[in-house]
Symmetry: C2
């Protein structure tokens, strides 16, 4: 979960169901990840112990491979037999991670309604591939196995707007329990379909929604006496990796997109035109690491918060997208657990801040559950 | 779980279902305990959040109170509302732990088939009192609440011999899976009832069982070429705190008990005569901390290994009881988790040794489950 903490507001801004970056977590919390995996497996595969991991096809991104190695290590230490099946691997291939670990990628083998690799019939298939290029046939109809997450969690079918609609409900219920304004943990958002950036179609929907959101934010800022300048993020509704994101401070900006901006927004992945966008209230970040803007990222495994890190981005301002494609960011592992609040310390003291991050991340997780339940194919 | 590691053998020697000493665990693994508690609560009290803790009546033992404070902190951080009910507390009493934490002990209040304290109706009652003085009426018949552990887990009803009979089965099944000799993780044991140490009744049963066990151990030592001197521990079958324990190297020793030895074995708690003993194969300890004999103690919460410590006892030899009443021992928290084995390191390297401790502790836990299931009142 990507979060933003503006001091007056703490909210999720992106929920990733196929997270990379497990290698960025503090090694000190590895036992927490292993225990969470153990609890999950007891429910998912109580009798079996074979799991197939299907990663992204980023075999040349050694840091991504490091993530795959870390994820596999967590699952192995939880007692599973883990093999790694590559979607585009023709024969057994050994690859090396950033720190020199060896990973064996094996060709997938389909057998009826089951997927495996040679001489390996898993109980569960864990996909670490966001499926933004579509759902490969080989993953369809695996009726005899547990497929995690379900296929409609991938960007081929998933929409950010559906996630944040579910989050509206979760945040409202939680705020009601605490008798606080749900806005304090929920960014406003709106949705525009039938966009065509190249043909400049849908600009009016975009501009009027941007206007409307900025107006609502301004009213809240006035209510709470906040001096910051309101802004919104315009994001591809099915985008990933921070692609297709634009920060806007005025509706006029989306009416006057230049060619470069239109190109940037039009396509998040080769051949995939952006037709739907979500317009989301921007949340400033007050977190600073060595004077650089930082954004907390919380990791969960099953229903457990297992840690997180700061995405630190020196070149970007507090109201910019810190998950910028191709740019350098520094992951800085949380030094403290997200599960040990200290009722005697002030509410912004590190253990309490990390705890709050974990709470909001769990709300977003609950929203993810609701979203997937509603979006499940009939 | 108290374990012994002799290098050639790794076995549980005592399974405590009401452990004190949570305060001796490494603070670094607190998140692991909290997460385990969270998983347990989700099963036990999915809808409620009130828990009543009923500790021992050791209000003057400040280190025991420290344990109660730690246990309460774990449960609170897992999201529970925790109150502490004293079995012999007449009015609200604030006590101070060894490190100066304040604990509020409240008088128990019974309401039909429910137990609580004033204005507090818990979903579950967690007993941290081993009930060796008998089962208080106020704990009987709590049919509307979850009582943990069940009453027959207390020493009023529990017998070590039933536990180790269950462990025989678990260890045999596990050894079969691994195709190893179950003796490598299971101490021989035997049982004598109708003992009366003061009247010198039952000495013959004791002596013949000691003889028989020493003979069986000698045969195994021969089989594996072990040079150590065999010994057995004679323990009160319902004893606790390391009370009523005697180390024996020859059957003649139990035929010729002097008055002091008889007194020591006859009573483990005021007014409670020892009539049953378990005779258990002694397992030497090879663990040394600063040249002193050390015994690993593994802590579990629900089904999870959450850490442990070494009981280090300078004045005692490798084949003596390290859990000696009233004597000084040093708890030394495990610095490593018990859940991260390293398949590339040798089998005695710390991560693997700790992992093995966790595995054997979990076997003993499974035996505890079997024991309680079988011993449950009809």
């Amino acid at each position: 979960m990507d979060l933003r903490n503006s001091g007056f507001k703490l909210a999720p801004v992106d929920t990733n169901l196929f997270p990379g970056g497990f290698n960025n977590l503090s090694a000190a919390f590895m036992p927490l990840a292993v225990q969470a995996a153990t609890a999950a497996i007891a429910r998912i595969c109580p009798e079996a112990k074979n799991l197939l991991l299907v990663p992204e096809n980023h075999t040349r991104n050694k840091w991504y491979l490091e993530n795959v190695a870390t994820l596999a290590a967590i699952l192995r230490q939880a007692g599973l037999e883990v093999r790694i099946g590559g979607l585009h691997v023709e024969e057994k291939t050994e690859v090396e991670t950033a720190t020199g670990k060896k990973l064996l990628l094996e060709p997938l083998k389909r057998d009826g309604a089951r997927l495996g690799v040679e001489a390996f019939d898993p109980c569960a298939v864990l996909v670490n591939n966001d499926l933004s290029a579509g759902i490969p046939d080989i993953l369809k109809g695996l009726d005899e196995q547990v497929l995690l997450p379900p296929l409609h969690a991938g960007w081929a079918l998933r929409r950010k707007s559906a996630h944040f609609a579910a989050y509206d409900e979760v945040a409202a219920g939680f705020a009601d329990l605490l008798r606080i304004d749900p806005w304090l943990l929920n960014p406003y958002h709106a949705h525009c379909g039938e966009i065509d950036f190249q043909a400049r179609a849908g600009e009016e929907c975009l501009a009027s929604n941007v206007s409307m959101l900025l107006e609502k934010i301004r009213a809240k800022y006035l209510e709470y006496g906040i001096q910051d300048a309101p802004y919104v993020a315009v994001k591809a509704d099915a985008g990933t990796y921070g692609m297709g994101v634009m920060m806007v401070r005025d509706a006029a900006e989306v009416r006057d997109l230049n060619r470069r901006q239109r190109n940037k927004m039009a396509v998040v992945k080769e051949g995939l035109a952006v037709t739907d966008v979500i317009i989301q209230e921007g949340v400033h970040t007050v977190e600073r690491i060595e004077d650089k803007a930082a954004e907390p990222v919380v990791y969960m495994l099953d229903r457990f918060v297992i840690g997180g890190f700061y995405r630190v981005h020196g070149a970007r301002a507090a109201d910019e997208n810190l998950n910028a494609p191709g740019m350098h960011f520094v992951p800085l592992a949380f030094e403290q657990s997200c599960t040990l609040p200290d009722p005697h310390a002030n509410c912004d003291a590190p253990p309490n801040r990390f705890y709050a991050y974990g709470v909001v991340a769990r709300l977003a997780l609950a929203a993810g559950g609701l979203e997937l339940e509603r979006g499940a194919p009939a």
